[in-house]
């Protein structure tokens, strides 16, 4: 899933899922496939909310950090 770049100045979701719900979907998309309704909710939310676009990028950053930590600390399965 690719996160679009939002041109919104801030988070102003007026009708889409709340940030809390959107955050849950963004997180769960890393562990399971979202259905088309959930995906649409998320895309509408992203179009209105820069904070959540950033949050999604930071989830990727966090995931990379965890992988790098595993490599750096010699952690493996």
């Amino acid at each position: 899933m690719t996160t679009p770049v939002s041109n919104e100045p801030d988070c102003t979701p007026s009708l889409a899922a709340s940030c809390k719900e959107a955050a849950r979907l963004m997180s769960e998309s890393r562990d399971r496939e979202l259905d088309e309704i959930e995906q649409a909710d998320l895309e509408v939310h992203w179009s209105e909310c820069r904070n959540c676009v950033r949050f999604d990028k930071q989830l990727s950053w966090l995931s990379d950090l965890a992988k790098n930590y595993a490599l750096g600390q010699g952690v493996s399965k």
């Binding site: 940030c19 809390k20 955050a23 399971r32 649409a40 179009s47 950033r54 950053w61």
Partner: protein, 204 residues
Amino acid sequence: MGMVMTLAVHDKNALFLEIESHRGFLIRYATAKLREKNEAEEVVQEALLAALSGIESFSGTATLRTWLTSILKYKIIDFQRGAYSDREKFVQPPNNADEGSDSNDPQWFDQFFDETGHWTTSFGQGCQPGNALEQKRLFAAFEHCMEKLPKTTSRVFFQREVMGEEVAEICKDEGISSSNCWTMLHRARVALRECLERSGFCNA
């Protein structure tokens, strides 16, 4: 000028067909929200009419489907306001359990969102440490932040993101459901992001 606007100017019939091609999805979407197909079809019809009459406001920054879904959401909200305005609002029962359940977040997690579900925390742009020393500091902060999580949540996150295990495998190890696992992973990610930002990482 985007394809849709080009169609709007040159061929109204083609524009209608382009918008109409999303009707099936929109009905499925509205049915999922309203739980009633007849009502969903009615609301979708209104949304499509609104889209056709307001096509000049479609900027093309989002896809046509996303734009149509936005319009539909307004229509669904209008519909629900009318249909359910007399009903009592659902009140979520308090839950102070350490880990919370799938549907009720524990107190420690509630701090990240206000009562309307919006973020209460600040957002930087994200960053990567520039050198080995910063990398070491980042790893130390990461460990510190993981230690602050509830035990099971921390363990599930570690297995998933650090060890790279599949959710099914983690569920089996921990004896928890998939949805419980997704919820714990979500809470861990939100809390860790916040903790790392407070530690000076992830800032613009």
